[in-house]
Symmetry: C2
Subunit: 304 residues, 2 copies
């Protein structure tokens, strides 16, 4: 029997899971991301944790088809991440390290792209023609999957939907990337809170604002509706570029469920070019595991 | 020696060209599109013209790898166009007709998508990782090419960039598609003229407005600049979805040359997510032949 390893490398934690080639999780673990010292402990920690996991499962290297890794930065060639600000990394050849250290095949991808691949493999967008995942949390990430494959882009920017310039400039509001029109700047969790603060003068978390909106509170409803309109319009724009069968909404804010997605769907249907109306806006299904699923699939697509 | 036939079916004319498998045009012709009687003469006309072309070139069916056809409507499966308003067509199985009539393999695609494929094969975007073509004329069409292939989309909407909802609504301005935020509604040739009329009260063609802008006329410069800004912003949005290596600008308005594309590039560079800055905005090279090139390539990719 053959297996693959999926690694989801985040700014605070690293998830590692051992998969059968069919996509069942056999064993998994999570370790802390040690970002100190320029992040130099991270790759050795991952290698050690993979060794332990294989030992616990009683597997030899020969039984592992490959290791896939989702990393929080742009990836162009499947091997090197150009930078990971959260990890203190500059350009880092993750695949060569893992291959050299463990003697296993390794392929890497951008974390949001890889999560989209995970959902397309075993989650909400399985068996679809094409999908775009939008992950809404502290920021907005995304991934475009066509024909079962990640659209990486020329410079690793495929699915960087959070930085799509969609909103008119608002005085004093600047995105972490330095730009002023980003989707993320108005529709991510902290920015929903900022929108609410700007209107009401009250500090509430995005989750609290969604709960208030569910309860019918006027200002919260307006702020949530504005966010849904912007997301629906962004999806309609994306629809005119790659026209996916489904949009998968994930990330912490997707806990709001169909209260979130229902209105995004309405705005999508309103804004989309009528000839191609028909895509569905659905909720992600794999939660925090989307990354390890997608990472394992990256490896399986390459070596199985 | 093997050949392919490329057909570009437009609302007023039909271009047909016979290509070598390497992409040299051996013979070509153009006939009028007879849209009368619900467009029922169009396919027989195409079949007859292909027969004549092969006879003139002294070629037998066995030497033809296939026929590719670009059609002005959405295509999902490579065979059937869902509707062609300009031709009076409802759903039409073009491939089966050509195959039945001529005994040749046939594959079809949306005309703007096919033109993008032509530019990626032998034109401005040859040898690129990925490209998005934007054709600016009476309307705005487009095509997305990744890994040498057209991104068709689930419902044939890949590259329908003219209908991307990007502009804020303007009272009284409605796109042919019924929507009010379309890129095309503000940046196509007739809409540039409408923008100029709205500002100055003067009727000028898009070409005249570009000439006035080149000569430094203030209102024309402003209208052209607004259009370039909108196009640059649209390209930056597309960059955050598929991140192509190049954007190819074609269509009648691209006659304005780098006077058009230079400013689109500036606005693109201004709006694009800084981490993925680097795409080039370039002029199409194949002019009205892009369609026949791309159509022939469709067939060659399938049967050579």
């Amino acid at each position: 029997m053959k297996y693959a390893v999926g690694v989801d490398l985040g700014g605070t934690g690293i998830k590692i899971a051992l998969f059968t080639a069919e996509g069942e999780i056999v064993k998994s673990s999570e370790i802390k991301t040690r970002v100190e010292d320029g992040g130099k402990h991270i790759l050795p920690d991952i290698a050690n944790e993979i060794r332990s996991l294989l030992a616990e499962a009683g597997l030899s290297s020969e039984q592992i088809l490959g290791v896939g890794v989702g990393v929080p930065g742009p990836v162009v060639d499947g091997r090197t991440v150009l930078s990971c600000v959260n990890l203190g990394w500059g350009e880092t050849d993750v695949a060569s390290y893992i291959e050299g250290e463990l003697g296993l095949n390794c392929k890497i991808g951008n974390d949001a792209n890889v999560a989209a691949l995970g959902e397309a493999w075993k989650g909400a967008s399985r068996d679809t023609h094409s999908s775009v995942m939008i992950t809404i949390g502290t920021g907005i990430g995304g991934g475009v999957i066509i024909g079962g494959e990640i659209v990486t882009g020329f410079l690793g920017g495929g699915g960087e939907i959070g930085h799509a310039p969609i909103h008119p400039e608002v005085e004093g509001r600047v995105c972490g990337c330095g730009k002023v029109n980003c989707l993320e700047l108005f529709a991510s969790a902290p920015n929903v809170a900022a929108n609410y603060l700007a209107v009401t003068g009250k500090e509430m978390s995005c989750e609290e604002i969604f709960n208030a909106a569910k309860a019918g509170e006027e200002a919260a409803s307006k702020v949530v509706d504005d966010m849904q309109q912007l997301l629906g319009k962004a999806c309609a724009f994306i629809g005119c570029v790659v026209n996916p069968e489904v949009f998968v909404i994930g990330g912490g804010v997707s806990q709001a469920g169909t209260f979130l997605t229902g209105k995004i769907q309405e705005y999508y249907d309103h804004y989309i070019f009528p000839s191609i109306k028909g895509a569905r806006i659905i909720l992600a299904e794999l939660g925090n595991d989307a990354g390890v699923y997608g990472a394992a699939k990256l490896a399986l697509d390459e070596w199985s």
